[in-house]
Symmetry: C2
Subunit: 435 residues, 2 copies
């Protein structure tokens, strides 16, 4: 947290790299054991972890208190402090989330495809763990447990880097995880932290090809961009959600109103919350004033394009002109950009230009509009007459999730346990050679 | 092909970037149309392309002749010249490969998963094209057609960069592809080349985030490493195959001999060829001399560890001591590294250390050894009592392939059409909001 450069920092570059490679190398060794560990052992470790979280709640809270006090001294923003804070109910909820993961089926060993070839070769494509998964996230201690538990259940080792503001808490949590692994006969090195090497350590983790099989950044757009642009190991981008709701001319106005309010206001701080509302111009005198009034009453700050601004002002509702930046912005707050479009093409064009590719919803009763929207919108989730808030692993029936992938490679949308695996082809023969 | 730096090259950096972005941007626009194009239109374009290849064979051969003559002047290696050369039979084979792709099912629109949630929401996970696929490969004109045809069939636009030694040939081929697209009512910009901007162009393609959805390098280890280390767009590594055959103590010796010879000698220049043979020490006086003799008779150059060297010398067979480099080497020639191991653990350890993660085979009649080998070897394909030569999209029944992925993310093993797609979740409701 120091704002001055520590004197040894530059000279120690190689030492930091070696230390991070050492941690990742041990994780790679441990991953070998974890890859072939039966579900029983993995579930035993997870159950031991859930028990340990509850049993050691006082110790966790004491470490968390250190982090919070340091945060107070260094001016940690109140909303960040809130995400950092652990208390008994929160610890119980984290432990329960681990028990929920215990109940999920083991993805490892699932046969994805299989066939017998004309020459008698038996072919199976089987799910296998990735190996070592790096997780880089912000100062939210619940993510430490969540990420480690999902990695473990899917047979992967995890190398963690939490935000430095949570370092004391994470030290205790990682200790509990490692003890739980050992109690189940699994190698403690399967979960490790590189927090002691700070930001410099992350730089080396991002470039540890051959040691790290997958890097998953969780957090704000800045963190994700840094990881994507600097990594040479494979990365999955998660969580940036500039989600849109488009209300078509043919929409049921009451349904459109309810879905818009739910998408915006159910929880404003999550990635599946709507950030932009587009309304068909034929609704400028009907639905548009209704939704602007309702949003304002719900306490939403409005950024409006020219026509939406005119509608708001006609109602005496305060609104600001939407800037180009607004259309790109993920507010994660009670704020929304509102625009009026002349047709479906304009709506699709706007979304394709500004969306982060997370979730977009159309409200319509026109089948052709619904079909075009779902076909032409290039996002992880496209919803017809439903709230964007449903984009979630548990809601989709996938169980716990690592995050929402907004990229197209490997995983797109909610990432459950299966998305933390790769596959392997197993070919069984009796001496076949290829002509 | 000039060996001096052209004067404008450095100053033109921004111009090259703009030109590559222009090509990729047009491909992105075209990809929108291709993503929703019905199979009929895509197949019509592919059929027109196959016809055009045959009809314009003379023109293709003339352009190819230019490339070959330039190659001769600049000292192109004979094996590279052979891969560059096109004649009537080769053009007919390329056209036939396109017709084979026509017959493959369209991966786009396949419903991968689906369910109805308790609240009535209907959920479908559907295959969709990636968007724009960049292909970077060496001077093999058949890859130009192959890559473009696979991209097109899977609804993707393709931006191609072939080796500069094939530039004249590729110019003609890309022209034929674009004409075929237009003849089927599809945008010509769906397939484009950045060859005019040479290596500098590739640098910009690798960093064209937002314009290129996936980059697939095809070629030697050096090309692939360059792309992986310099790209900020998602990459799939293909084709480096340091494949191993391990002959266990319990192997049927005749089967082991046939599989080893097939794996090494069927085609030495392909990525699924065996490059290292590991033999259990209990076979040092039986199978080992037999296989060394057979390999030598087949014209294979031997690189042997201490014990294999002793066996070879006892037989009067010439062999060189295997160096650390040999174990890492993909010879792609009639050469093999031979080692003796004391047990399965040593074999697995060796393979895990030196393999490129492509294909490894065990010859054994011991079920436990087979199970441990398939579980603990971390490669795309693991074969029991079968040749490594079967690792191939067509052999696996996947149809034509883009290459063999040796990475764990997204695709592993033979990459067919499905591996050139992403998925999208489509959620259909009647006004559902999330509590």
């Amino acid at each position: 947290m120091s704002t001055t450069v520590e004197p040894a920092a530059v000279a120690s570059g190689d030492a930091v790299r070696d230390a991070v490679h050492e941690v990742a190398g041990r994780a790679k060794q441990a991953a070998r054991a974890l890859a072939v560990a039966p579900r029983q052992a993995k579930d035993a470790a997870l159950t031991a972890l859930a028990d340990a979280l509850v049993a050691n709640a006082e110790q966790i809270i004491a470490a968390n208190q250190e982090d919070l006090e340091r945060g107070e001294r260094t001016g940690l923003a109140p909303n960040l402090a809130d995400r950092l804070r652990l208390d008994h109910p929160r610890i119980a909820a984290i432990a329960q989330a681990v028990r929920d993961i215990v109940r999920l089926p083991d993805p490892v060993g699932e046969v994805v495809r299989g066939s017998t070839l004309p020459n008698g070769l038996q072919l199976r494509q089987v799910r296998v763990p990735m190996g070592v998964i790096g997780m880089v996230y912000e100062a939210r201690p619940n993510v430490t447990i969540d990420a480690a538990a999902l990695a473990l259940k899917s047979g992967n080792a995890a190398v963690l880097r939490g935000g430095s503001a949570a370092e004391s808490t994470n030290t205790v949590l990682v200790g509990l995880i490692r003890a739980a692994l050992e109690s189940a006969g699994l190698p403690a090195d399967a979960v490790a932290t590189i927090d002691p090497w700070g930001r410099e350590g992350v730089q080396h983790l991002m470039r540890a090809r051959g040691l790290v099989d997958l890097l998953v950044p969780r957090g704000g757009a800045g963190l994700i961009r840094t990881v994507v642009e600097n990594s040479t190991v494979p990365v999955i981008e998660t969580g940036t959600g500039n989600c849109h709701v488009y209300v078509d001319a043919s929409a049921d106005p009451q349904m459109a109103l309810e879905v818009t309010l739910n998408a915006k206001m159910r929880r404003t701080s999550v990635c599946n919350a709507a950030e932009t509302l587009l309304v068909h111009s034929s609704l400028a005198d009907s639905f548009l004033p209704t939704v602007l009034t309702a949003l304002k009453e719900a306490g939403v700050r409005l950024h409006a394009d020219e026509r939406a601004l005119a509608a708001a002002r006609a109602l005496g509702i305060e609104a600001e002109p939407a800037t180009e930046d607004d259309w790109f912005t993920e507010y994660l707050a009670a704020e929304i950009a509102v625009g009026v479009v002349d047709d479906l093409d304009q709506a699709i064009g706007h979304i394709r230009t500004y969306s982060s590719g997370h979730t977009e919803a159309i409200l319509t009763s026109d089948l052709r509009a619904a079909n075009r929207f779902t076909a032409e919108i290039d996002s992880a989730v496209v919803a017809v007459n439903a709230s964007t808030a449903f984009t979630d692993g548990a809601e989709f029936g996938l169980g716990a999730e690592v995050g929402i992938s907004t990229q197209k490679l490997h995983a797109r949308g909610p990432m459950g346990l299966a998305e933390l695996t790769s596959t392997k082809w197993i070919v069984t023969g009796n001496g076949q050679t290829r002509p």
